[in-house]
Amino acid sequence: MVKRGTVLAACGIAALAAGQPPSTYTETIPGTRVSFEMVAIPSGHFTMGSPATEKGRTASEGPTHDVELRAFWIGRTEVTWDEYDLFAFSMDLERPSSAQPRPAPPSGADAVTRPTPPYGDESFGYGKGKQPAINMTWHAAMEYCRWLSAKTGKTYRLPTEAEWEYAARAGTTTAYSFGNDARALGEYAWTRENSGERPHPVATKKPNAWGLFDMHGNVSEWILDQYDAGYYRTVQPGTVGPVLLPGNHRFPHVSRGGSWDDEASLARSAARRGSAPDWSRRDPQSPKSIWWHTNALFAGFRVVRAVEEQDNLKGFRSAITRDSSQ
């Protein structure tokens, strides 16, 4: 395992954020007993994408390019159902002994629109609690972050693709954060090889060198960026905080990291995937839900928080509505 300090020194990182370096903290969602941990990631730069020689890579992962990032925090784990249920089913508004949710007053976090309920079991029989939340759309994950921000007074959002890969690599340049040999993957990740065809409670495998769990597996994770297989060809060398801002189309958005339903090559730090209409193919309604997929049982997310937000992400939110086309 690589020590973070060593990696940072080796990369010659200069802190971009002024003042004290951020430190890891625990956030308790106000009014609830639900908490999650945010791991401090210092500013720095890294080589994004995979070399042509990497086993299992696809052309979309190249060319490799140098990326510079400001400091941020990232969730130590994927968002669990304990957290997501508060938003998705307004459980933050319920009084424990009351039979009915009370009506939401139209202010603050309560002004954020909540998902319409799914016609079916959103947990797909895998259970809830510390299981990672699954099958939500990109729009829903974006709105969760907006709700969480209003709730906590801190600005949470989805990671950019660059932030996610930087955090996943944790200073490494190998296919996986533990090296190039996929045979060790089972120690770090739930993938098709060992999952028993289901997701598992978060943080039950080894973390990466920066203390992040399940970056290589369990559920694939929503990214703020739109997906474009040719995007890396357009990134200028040395860009600080590259991000491909999505418009109002439902697809495709980036999802990163392998999942319980994926083979090892898709679990690599550089592996990319874009969402597609097929992820909702069993939605019998039209328009299809903008909150729930029907066939993305492998998809979840984790949150980040910028120490000092880059200008193009300030106030950025999903533009998707029921009328949005694919």
């Binding site: 696809t58 052309a59 979309s60 249920d85 089913f89 459980m91 039979a99 009915q100 319409t116 309920p117 799914p118 016609y119 079916g120 079991d121 959103e122 947990s123 797909f124 029989g125 259970g127 809830k128 065809e197 694939s220 997906y227 297989a229 495709p252 999802s255 339903d261 994926d262 090559s265 898709l266 592996a271 990319r272 995937r273 874009g274 597609a276 097929d278 992820w279 193919r281 069993r282 939605d283 019998p284 309604q285 039209s286 328009p287 299809k288 066939n295 993305a296 492998f298 086309s325």
Partner: protein, 425 residues
């Protein structure tokens, strides 16, 4: 795996839309008479019930076959016709031939749709209306794709059973929206069960347990009837209660596997959490012990309560193995797991139906869906009354839930059934 495949196929079970995409491409093209191979006559859809499911069904039919267009629409409410047209028009404007004079609104809209030149009727209203609409469609000589469930009470079921042979005698097809019967994984799994992979079935379980569903806040200008119609899930005369409206899917799978229907139900249920008046008068949970011939029992659960364990599933216990049908998995001596590509069942059911019509061998799925609907109704009757209910009692029940005449105006909410006090009629 190429980058493109990675994008299109995130999971091995994901469906790669090669043939479907080709079909779609063709269906975008203007409809040219004679542009199809012989036997592919134009399908002219008349949509009755223009909500999200009806709208989705039209789009599924467009995707499922070539030479399909929409020619008439009807709904109780003008806003639903308009929103459905707008949604379908987003990407399929060329397949819409529904001028103002073929858009019908009101309780008799279905009659006008049936009087049009539509030859493929989609029934997607709340199920309480289904027997009336289905009978009228068969009388009008139309092929019908009907959503599930097929009725909400004994009289409705009897009316529909009588239509099974009528439709056959008239050469009319009737397809039912029990899409699992057109889903590759289910078909492959149950084929093996029926070939003896788990031996003789000795017990079964099925469930549709989930959280709350949508409701629409009452608007000041709405009459009682309009409020109930727009919140139809929560009124038994419209939905049959959620054991009928939703859980019928899982019950249908077990009936399919058993090759028959139960002879009796011993059920319980109640209204524990979802108790406010905005939720109508239906139950929020059911647990039914269904008895099949040969003393084989099915334990069925249906729950719509937030924050509880979820499960939408069917399982079969055989004397030589077990089958988790919804996971396409068989364990035991002949262990097996479906590892092929699953399909898009909501599209496939139209593909199969239209192919049968064009081949001159119309599908008739009415008996199966009617038996499964009555199975669910029998369970509801048992839970509502707290009494055992036999198949014949449910079938011959005289309790007609649909009001004899329906106009927009006042309507009381029926009382919440009370087991031990509510009587079987």
């Amino acid at each position: 795996m190429s980058a493109d495949q990675f994008t299109a196929a995130p999971s091995r079970r994901d469906f790669i839309k090669t043939t479907t995409a080709a079909t779609l491409g063709l269906s975008f093209a203007p409809m040219m008479p004679g542009a199809y191979a012989s036997g592919t006559d134009a399908i002219r859809i008349g949509l009755i019930g223009c909500g999200g499911r009806g709208t989705g069904a039209v789009l599924n039919a467009f995707e499922g076959a070539e030479g399909v267009k929409l020619v008439a629409m009807g709904d109780a409410f003008a806003d639903r016709v308009a929103s459905s047209l707008a949604e379908i028009g987003k990407e399929h404007a060329a397949q819409i031939e529904v001028p103002k004079d073929r858009q019908f609104v009101g309780f008799d809209a279905y009659k006008h749709v049936l009087a049009s030149d539509a030859n493929y009727i989609i029934l997607a209203t709340p199920p309480g209306f289904r027997p009336i609409h289905l009978a009228a469609a068969i009388a009008a000589g139309k092929h019908v794709f009907t959503e599930k469930p097929i009725a909400v009470d004994g009289p409705g079921i009897r009316q529909v059973f009588a239509l099974v042979e009528q439709a056959k005698a008239k050469g009319l097809g009737v397809a039912a929206g029990t899409q699992r019967r057109h889903q590759t994984g289910y078909l492959e799994t149950l084929k093996r069960v029926q070939d003896g992979a788990i031996g003789k079935i000795v017990a079964a379980r099925c469930a549709w347990n989930q959280g709350f569903l949508w409701k629409k806040d009452r608007q000041p200008e709405w009459s009682d009837v309009e409020w109930q119609l727009r919140n139809w899930l929560y009124f038994t005369w419209l939905s049959g209660d959620h054991i009928v409206e939703q859980h019928v899917h899982n019950i249908d799978v077990v009936n399919w596997a058993m090759g028959t229907h139960p002879v009796a139900a011993h059920g319980m249920g109640g209204r524990q959490v979802r108790t406010g008046p905005e939720w109508g008068h239906i139950f929020d949970h059911f647990s039914i012990d269904y008895e099949y011939p040969g003393n084989v029992h099915l334990h069925s659960q249906a729950r719509q309560i937030q924050g509880c364990e979820g499960s939408v599933s069917e399982a079969l216990v055989g004397d030589r193995g077990q089958c988790q049908v919804d996971k396409y998995a068989i364990t035991g001596a002949k262990a097996w797991k479906f590892d092929g590509k699953d399909n898009a069942p909501y599209v496939q059911e139209h593909t199969d139906f239209i192919a049968s019509l064009r081949a001159g061998k119309p599908l008739n799925e009415l008996k199966n869906v009617t038996e499964s609907t009555l199975t669910a109704i029998m369970g509801r009757m048992s839970a509502y009354t707290g009494q055992p209910v036999t198949w014949d009692q449910a079938l011959n029940s005289t309790e007609a839930l649909m009001p004899p005449s329906l106009t927009f105006g006042p309507m009381e909410v029926p009382p919440v059934p009370m087991p031990g006090r509510t009587k079987l009629t």
